[in-house]
């Protein structure tokens, strides 16, 4: 499986982000040569410029060139190597991504404060910063190795293959509907009950129609020539509701008789009693 691991070093469709030089020396699918394996160390490093995923990655590779455990690396010499590298790159007039310059400045600061006597050091101490840098490198290193091991696993389509033409499984769902006689009849009954035509029954109420009021008023007017109050035309002993109805219809009947020229109406004041008498012929 070592050949597949080797393949991982070759970066296909290289993600341009994080590249340190805008003008990549090698094409993106070129073999990526690990620093340790370069035949002529020190020169190969500067020719393989598109291999690093940012300054931390470059630092990691430089650290590995020290060929010791990441815990045992000398941060001071790592800083020197990095600054040296950046210097050489600048000498070659290669455009450096800002990330790398920021890291260079930070490392230069770290180096200078590490060289200061203890009592003059600021907080956080350069030892803390160095240790944290080391921890970060360890973590990145661990992930890089894990990624390589992951990629070296038995991958479907590369190392193992699934069935070329599976028949496939299909489930056809079929619904068996159920309903019983009772449900059917009940449903119909409810539809009928719900939509049965509504019959409105109006209760009989004691009223005097306009017609009967007309008859009554004109008959009574025939008896006398004197003025009579409207109330006198109402049926005596009528219960209050009938009386109200009779008052209303008698009033309309009086207006109607006046219109026909059969009666005169007089009212002396607003809301005063209304009087009625037969029109003299």
């Amino acid at each position: 499986m070592s050949d597949t691991t080797e393949e991982q070093k070759q970066t296909e469709d290289q993600d341009q982000q994080g590249l340190m030089f805008t003008e990549a020396v090698a094409s993106s699918d070129s073999e990526w040569i690990a620093p340790g394996t370069a035949e002529t160390e020190g020169t190969a490093l500067y020719l393989e410029l598109d291999g690093w995923e940012g300054p931390l990655d470059l630092l990691l590779d430089l650290a590995r060139r020290q060929k010791v455990d990441l815990r045992a690396i000398s941060i001071l010499s790592l800083v020197d190597q990095y600054l040296d590298y950046i210097e050489k790159a600048e000498a070659l007039k290669l455009e450096l991504a800002a990330d790398y310059l920021v890291m260079a400045a930070w490392l230069a600061y770290l180096k200078s404060s590490m060289l200061l006597p203890k009592e003059e050091q600021e907080d956080p101490s350069p030892e803390e910063l160095a240790l944290k840098l080391q921890l970060r490198l360890q973590r990145l290193g661990a992930m890089r190795e894990s990624a390589a091991r992951l990629m070296a696993g038995d991958r479907i389509g590369r190392d193992v293959f699934v069935r070329g033409s599976p028949e496939g499984l299909r489930i056809d769902r079929k619904t068996q509907w159920r309903c019983d006689m009772y449900g059917l009849i009940q449903a119909y009954g409810q539809v009928k009950a719900r939509t049965a035509p509504a019959i409105h029954m109006v209760r009989e109420r004691p009223v005097m129609t306009l017609e009967s009021a007309l008859d009554r008023v004109s008959n009574m007017l025939g008896v006398t020539l004197d003025w009579m109050r409207l109330e006198e035309f109402l049926p005596p002993h009528a219960e209050p509701r009938l009386r109200r109805s009779a008052l209303a219809s008698s009033f309309v009947a009086a207006l109607e008789l006046a219109r026909m020229g059969k009666a005169e109406i007089a009212q002396d004041e607003i809301f005063g009693p209304m009087r009625l008498r037969r029109m003299r012929a």
């Binding site: 293959f161 699934v162 069935r163 070329g164 033409s165 028949e167 496939g168 499984l169 299909r170 489930i171 056809d172 769902r173 079929k174 619904t175 068996q176 509907w177 159920r178 309903c179 019983d180 006689m181 009772y182 449900g183 059917l184 009849i185 009940q186 449903a187 119909y188 009954g189 409810q190 539809v191 009928k192 009950a193 719900r194 939509t195 049965a196």
Partner: protein
Amino acid sequence: MSSDAPENAVDDLERAVEATLFATEEPMSVEALAGHLGDADVPSVRAAVQSLVAHYEGRGIHLVERSKKWHFQTAADLAHLLRREREQVRRLSRAATEVLAIIAYHEPVSRAEIESVRGVQTAKGTLDVLMEAGWVRIAGRREVPGRPVIYTTTPEFLQHFGLASRRDLPGVDELRAAGLLDPVDDAYDALMTPDEEDEASEEGATPEETETDAKESAETDLSGRAGATPS
């Protein structure tokens, strides 16, 4: 080839042929297999194929030959596993039941007529369900403006509901006598909720509850009433 070895022992060529035939998208001839496997000669590959055929005999998958090409396929007697039909029993929704009843009592009826009887709109899916159930069918078109489709019940409907003919459906008077025309809260609720919602709540809420009881009482009801009002 593998006959005298313990159960799993299988030679490299046979393994290679097995894996190749498994992974290939097209059936392969012995010659194509030999070509693919590079250093294998045709007779050896043929022997490996035969050994595989024997190995898979009686298993869930077989190695079969079709016009001189080999491929794995599911054992014929297990073909039903590939295309399963899953039946699920579902109760007819209240809306669908009403529509079915209206069709049964008034057939043939158009959708507009169904709606005028129900007093609510009928969702398209409701009639589909009844047709899927096999209880309702399209009986043609009514020769009136718009030529609406008209629906009737099917013989399966009569059969499912145990009716000899449509005349066996209890009449409206009988329904009233049975108290089925009395307004029920249910009926009111049903009116107040749109079809779909009605359907959904039916499915979720009412399980099979008193189905058997209901059926029995419906049947006794009917026979009792049938005696009382000979048609």
